[in-house]
């Protein structure tokens, strides 16, 4: 408590004088932050990265934000990208993390989750990010996820600018971004172009082969909207990367080339009806040349694998809201149609025929939620959802979700948020349909889970103290059986527990400090950090914005029995606001070169290197 008394005193000394106009402008900016309009406390325990936070953090890519999320660790994958690994599970357990751009769910059928392929997504067009843990599997569309990351695009009426930004980094990487966002009468538009070239440290393995994850990425996003009427969004991303480790143990050469396109139309009708239609198309070209070779599902050895695959997804969502007395009712239905195609599969230059599971999947979803206001301080949310999966090959399956949420303002300064969710996780594409390395299992059934979490928030003057915890029990989880070389259902149940504590001290609208700690418990083995901490310091001093971040992750023993040391990732950045049009930025990432690692091909690999980034931003 002493530390907070000191902070209070400092705050009073530093900021006790009459506020000047710049301070008032910062308060106005803070009061008008868009997350105030979009965050929904009933949808889970939420962490907000506001526009001002993202600006000060110099968060150029989604990974810059993902690495700070509690209860997860950002880790490198064998194909050169990165993914969030849930503590203390193994990286082999694919987390059901869902990423949305506004109301569009970023997914990749070939990957099971959009997270892996979109970690390098540029955030230039994003205003703020909401991370929902024990997220609402009913009100958020699509299949259920344990965590939902919502990226909200910038509001053109708040932008009114054309901004160009270019960066170079100490590893020879570069980035160029241009955004234009304007409003005219009732209409608004936003267009963003982002081109990146990234270079990373090349890791050498014992036989002399090198692991490289260098690559290029281009992305485009545009939206046109009329307030309370409609919104049209079009996005595309093209990324070409070196394959890093690839599937084998001695990579010779390899490339991962993905193209992803989507379009979404949202229409708001007067009678609280919302319709969302979207379509997406992706292709993935993969080439993997390996000196030793690796075994395919038919046990043949491939020294050169070439595959070209892709998928299409179409979605239609219809939602109706009804306010009746103290009830706010949501009725919704969604149809999702997904199909997979494999255009090319060659091993050692010869066409290869491998076993492929169901290529099509239709999901019919029906959901209902009642947000009941018991009184002005207590809200009870009850929701139910039925999802019917039909893959046209195996018998269809019907899954259901039940959710109860309770929000309470215990006093003016104390609030409580509790959720219980009983649901399921449908097997991923990589488990049911296609992998060149192992047999997929189209007969897998969904894993079942029940999660319970509670969070208590206490405000003491400028300090917000949040304590949360809970657990989850799952059964029929899906795991890989190396003897049968396929995924199987594990009938055993397992339990998982966690707690966390977060303190945020706000000096004023431009200065704050966040300290956070979490610990997780799992009854059997642990294959990733089971505890971690985060320290963030956001400051403004004169014309400088300054940011400091320290991420701690505990040591652990990985699935290949490699001892991984404690991770300590320090990031620091400064922005100099030279004038109204020009900003100069410098940022150092992973400055101690000790970010949490993962074992791979007898090496220990961090998801990102130590590097310095210099950026110039100009507003036209």
């Amino acid at each position: 408590m002493k530390i907070y008394l000191v902070l209070l005193l400092l705050s009073a000394l530093l900021f006790g004088e009459e506020k000047n106009l710049n301070e008032l402008l910062s308060e106005y900016r803070e009061a008008g932050e868009l997350f105030n309009e979009t965050k929904e406390l009933k949808n889970g325990h939420v962490t907000i990265f506001s526009r001002a936070d993202l600006d000060k953090m110099q968060a150029y890519t989604l990974n810059d934000v993902l690495k700070t999320i509690k209860l997860f660790t950002l880790m490198s994958t064998k194909l050169g990208m990165s993914t969030l690994v849930k503590s203390p599970y193994s990286e082999k357990v694919i987390s059901s993390v869902k990423v949305f751009i506004n109301s569009y769910e970023v997914t990749s059928l070939t990957d099971g989750t959009g997270l892996t392929q979109f970690g390098r997504m540029g955030l230039n067009f994003i205003d703020h990010i909401e991370v929902y843990q024990v997220s609402n599997a009913i009100a958020f569309s699509g299949e259920p996820g344990t965590m939902v990351i919502k990226l909200h695009t910038k509001d053109p009426s708040r932008e009114n600018a054309t901004v160009a930004q270019t960066s170079i980094d100490s590893r020879g990487g570069s980035k160029a971004q241009v955004i234009e966002a304007k409003s005219f009468d009732e209409y608004t538009y936003l267009a963003n172009l982002d081109i990146s070239n990234y270079n990373s440290h090349e890791h050498k393995i014992a036989d002399g082969s090198e692991l490289s994850r260098d690559g290029q990425r281009g992305q485009f996003y545009v939206n046109l909207a009329k307030k309370n009427d409609f919104k049209v969004e079009i996005g595309s991303a093209i990324e070409k990367d070196n394959l890093f480790s690839g599937f084998g143990k001695s990579i010779d050469d390899g490339e991962f080339y993905t193209k992803n396109y989507y379009a979404q139309f949202t229409k708001y009708f007067d009678n609280d009806i919302k319709v969302i239609l979207n379509t997406s198309y992706e292709t993935v070209d993969l080439t993997n040349s390996d000196n030793i070779g690796f075994a395919l599902q038919d046990n043949s050895i491939s020294n050169l694998l070439e595959a070209k695959s892709g998928s299409q997804t179409h979605n239609a969502i219809l939602e109706k809201r009804i306010e009746h007395n103290d009830h706010n009712l949501l009725f919704g239905t969604q149809l999702k149609v997904r199909s997979f195609f494999l255009d090319k599969l060659k091993s050692n230059g010869v066409n290869k025929e491998l076993v492929i599971g169901p290529k099509d999947l239709n999901i019919y979803m029906f959901y209902f939620e009642d947000e009941y206001s018991i009184n002005s301080n207590n809200t009870l949310t009850l929701g139910a959802k039925i999802d019917i999966y039909d893959n046209h090959l195996t018998p269809s399956s019907t899954e259901n979700i039940l959710r109860v949420g309770y929000l309470s303002n215990l006093s003016d300064t104390t609030s409580l948020r509790a959720f219980i969710q009983k649901g399921y996780f449908y097997p991923l594409f990589a488990e049911t349909t296609f992998s060149p390395l192992y047999f997929t299992n189209p007969n897998l059934e969904s894993a079942k889970s029940t999660a319970t979490k509670i969070e208590l928030e206490q405000k003491i003057d400028n300090l917000i103290l949040t304590v949360g915890g809970g657990g989850a029990k799952s059964k029929d989880s899906i795991s890989f059986n190396p003897i049968r070389k396929t995924y199987v259902t594990n009938p055993d149940s397992n339990t998982f527990g966690q707690y966390y504590i977060n303190t945020t001290y706000r000096f004023d609208a431009d200065n704050k400090i966040i300290a956070e700690y979490f610990r997780t418990y799992k009854e059997d083995s642990k294959y990733s950090p089971d505890n971690g901490a985060l320290l963030q310091l956001y400051n403004r001093i004169g014309k400088f914005d300054i940011y400091n971040e320290l991420i701690y992750r505990s040591s652990y023993v990985g699935v290949y029995n490699q001892k991984i040391n404690t991770g300590l990732d320090y990031t620091a950045g400064a922005i100099y606001h030279y004038n109204k049009k020009l900003n100069l930025k410098i940022k150092g990432e992973n400055l101690f070169d000790r970010a949490s690692q993962i074992g791979m091909n007898e090496l220990k690999i961090a998801p990102y290197d130590r590097r310095a980034i210099f950026t110039v931003e100009y507003t036209f």
Partner: protein, 143 residues
């Protein structure tokens, strides 16, 4: 107890919205405290929440009749009466500086942040004196 609808989201939204109007009003008070005109400040605005904030604090005299005002705070060009078109105007949208010839200053959003600009020649033409404390926000022309 019709629709207390404690949808927390709406409460939060309303709370945030109140803060926004109060913060905007405080900024305008600070600006007007540092400018002087020949006449007493009597403010008319089409932003009703802003007028409510001024009335709460009683910093300025406000009016609901545009022609009685000595200073207009304008959000939407369509809302200004022709009889008031010669009065000094402070706008809440940068594009209005181009469209309303009598406007001499603006508070507006750009790049996700609120900004202030005061166009010195326009202020001078209307005999509005700007304090040195506002020097950081003075421009000679519209961008």
């Amino acid at each position: 107890m019709k629709a207390v609808i404690g949808v927390l989201f709406l409460i939060v939204l309303a709370f945030a919205s109140d803060h926004t109007h109060a913060a905007k009003a405080e900024i305008l008070e600070k600006i007007f405290a540092n400018i002087s005109m020949k006449k007493e400040f009597i403010i008319w605005s089409d932003d009703k929440e802003l007028i409510e904030e001024f009335d709460k604090k009683r910093t300025f005299t406000t009016t609901t009749i545009c022609k009685d005002a000595t200073l207009i705070i304008l959000e939407n060009k369509k809302n200004i009466d022709k009889t008031c078109s010669e009065k000094p105007v402070f706008v809440l949208d940068y594009t209005l500086l181009k469209e309303v010839p009598q406007s001499f200053g603006a508070i507006f959003w750009k790049k996700g942040r609120p900004n202030i600009v005061i166009i010195a020649p326009r202020a001078k033409a209307q005999s509005i004196i700007i304090s040195d404390k506002l020097n950081d926000y003075i421009e000679d022309k519209i961008w």
